[in-house]
């Protein structure tokens, strides 16, 4: 199972102490296959706590690059029916998205099917599908602007909004480095932003933008101190991403440069 094998990888890297290794092998040899004893334990069991602590310390030291290179397994083209299966799936993926759209758009969610499997009918059927798509789903400049405008907005959010660090699993191709992950916890900022945004649609924008920006700046600073979070938003892009919604308040950048 996916998660299991990923976990296995992370747990194998802990047995770095040679003494510990011999210990585990000796216990393995005593319990032969004939006398299987299930090891059901509780998390807070003192012995388990000790083992976890040992593993944790072991994990902190870096394995050699060779060790991790040996962990990178060569993959063979077998999944999804090999290259031909993959090609078929690629075509199918395109077809299903367009087909679903057109069925929902013109046929009330029922399947559009050919009258029969005779070549002439099939030809008519595919020509009809193509014409429907040409009529209803031909790409427009406006659609490109919407889709990529959305993407750019999301990229700005991704890069600029603040977060805290957590860890992923060690990646063999990166020499077992844990991948740091930033998670945003700034609900206070959000509530400010939300309140401001709602207000913006009723009141003059600038009158609210400046005081809110000041408040947000201070709130961010104080909260980061209070929670001992390293504030990761000394960022030239931040004022712009907020200005997307707050209509330009350059003073923000000052408060975020704490």
């Amino acid at each position: 199972m996916a998660n299991h094998s990923a976990m296995e990888d992370s747990s194998t890297l802990r047995s770095r102490n040679p003494q510990q290794k011999t210990e585990t092998t000796s216990t393995k040899s005593t319990t032969t296959d004939d006398e299987y004893v299930p090891q059901i334990v509780y998390f807070n069991d003192p012995e388990e706590v000790r083992l976890r602590e040992e593993r944790r310390i072991g994990a902190d030291s870096k394995k050699s690059a060779e060790y991790w290179r040996s962990k990178v397994e060569k993959r063979t083209p077998q999944e999804f029916g090999g290259p031909l299966g993959c090609l078929a799936l690629m075509i199918f993926s395109h077809a299903i998205v367009w087909y679903f759209f057109i069925c929902l758009h013109v046929n009330q969610g029922n399947l559009l099917l050919p009258d029969s499997l005779y070549p002439s009918d099939l030809y008519k059927y595919y020509a009809n599908l193509f014409n429907l798509l040409y009529e209803h789903a031909f790409p427009t400049v406006y659609a490109v602007a919407l889709y990529w405008g959305f993407q750019i907005f999301q990229i700005l959010c991704y890069v600029t909004l603040p977060g805290f660090t957590t860890y992923g699993l060690p990646v063999p191709s990166l020499n077992g480095e844990y991948v740091n992950i930033y998670i945003c916890i700034y609900i206070p900022i959000l509530s400010h932003l939300l309140a401001c945004l709602l207000a913006c649609s009723y009141f003059p924008v600038i009158a609210l933008a400046y005081p809110t920006a000041c408040l947000m700046g201070f709130a961010t600073y104080l909260l980061s101190r209070y929670h001992h979070i390293f504030l990761r938003i000394i960022n030239p892009l931040l004022p712009f991403s907020l200005s997307f919604t707050l209509s330009l308040c350059p003073s923000l950048s000052f408060y975020y440069n704490v």
Binding site: Y36, N44, Q108, T140, Q154, L161, L169, E177, I183, C184
Partner: protein, 348 residues
């Protein structure tokens, strides 16, 4: 070669900022909410072609810049489909990095999906002057689902997709086009269908809402229990205090587990002590409720998600079982004895 990667996963903030921005754009008249649905056809084509473009660009760049992983097979079609690069990322400035995989997987798919379905709901409201029972049920279900993904973002890097799957056509296409356009089928169907023929009675909607919340609760806590346990076992657990909703029972204080020879412990407490696949039945229940909301199987396409999903889970269960039997050996037999049921307690 030692590289240290930093993920910037602020999905929850992005989620609220995006929703708030859309509200403002709607009320200021810059971008009325129904616009998305009016242009859905062109958007579909643009999304499909963009997904192709991004997949090709990443594949080409990985090879040109020497970022392709060592474990690639060498078969161009297969590598393009499965991906050539494990962690594609764009570095803007110092450590302001865009991790394309996390970004597409969490943001584009689910936020775009939610925009499309709420846009469909808005269109319906504009046309009929009210929001039907079916729509309320569907929106409640899909909102909870999207919200849960944003909330659980810090658990996503430990999943197979991020840890092992390289970023190829498969992930790229379904993230950038497949998920938002195929999963929105129920809402699109409802926005076009005649509400008088498929409307659910009030009592049924209230019942289903209760079932939905129970299923959601069980699903959320099951997933949370498992990933919290995995992180705690590896001494990597960090609580996530502010994310909504905080459900009681999502972390087991002193879980019981079976230590295995293969190394990975098997959890025996909480929901996972009752069912081997505790998340499947709840996920299926939610999918079923979405389908009931979308015309209870009167049309094929809105029902497709549930049928496909159920089939996939049943198949995956069989595959997992045979894999685990090989991997864990006797430990797996013991685990099956401890947790005898897979999908439904007392039945199977």
């Amino acid at each position: 070669m030692s590289r240290k990667l930093t993920y910037n996963c602020n999905a929850l903030t992005t989620w609220y900022v995006t929703l708030a921005s859309l509200v403002v754009l709607h009320y200021t008249g810059i971008f009325p909410y129904g616009t998305v649905l009016d242009h859905l056809g062109p958007i579909t084509t643009v999304a499909v072609l963009s997904a192709d473009f991004v997949a090709i660009a990443i594949y080409a760049y990985a090879h040109l810049a020497g970022e392709a992983e060592d474990d690639n097979t060498g078969n161009v079609i297969y590598d393009f489909f499965m991906g050539a690069w494990l962690n594609p990322r764009i570095k803007f400035y110092k450590d302001y990095v865009l991790d394309i995989k996390m970004y597409c997987e969490v943001r584009i798919s689910w936020i775009m999906l939610f925009i499309i379905i709420t846009s469909a709901a808005y269109k319906f409201y504009e046309e009929h002057g009210y929001l039907s029972n079916n729509f309320i049920l569907l929106l409640a279900g899909q909102f909870l689902y999207c919200q849960a993904i944003m909330k659980g973002e810090d658990k996503i890097p430990q999943t197979w997709d991020i840890y092992h799957e390289k970023y190829g056509f498969l992930l790229c296409f379904w993230n950038l086009a497949g998920v938002p356009l195929v999963y929105s089928a129920q809402a699109l169907y409802l926005s076009k269908a005649d509400p008088s023929t498929i409307d659910l009675p009030n009592w049924l909607v209230y019942t289903l809402l209760v079932v939905l919340f129970i299923a959601y609760y069980a699903w959320d806590t099951a997933m949370s229990q498992k990933s919290a346990f995995r992180l705690m076992y590896n001494s990597k657990y960090q609580p996530r205090p502010y994310a909504f909703p905080q459900l009681p029972g999502s972390v087991i204080e002193n879980p019981k587990y079976l230590k295995t020879k293969a190394g990975t412990p098997l959890l025996l407490s909480g929901h996972w002590g009752k069912l081997r696949k505790a998340n499947y039945i709840t996920d299926m229940t939610m999918a079923l409720i979405w389908t009931i909301a979308a015309g209870y199987f009167t049309a094929f396409i809105p029902s497709f998600y549930f049928l496909f999903f159920t089939g996939m889970l049943v198949h995956r269960n069989a595959r997992d079982d045979s894999k685990c039997r090989v991997k864990y050996g006797r430990d797996w037999d013991e685990y099956c004895k401890q947790v005898p049921y897979v999908l439904i307690p007392g039945v199977y």
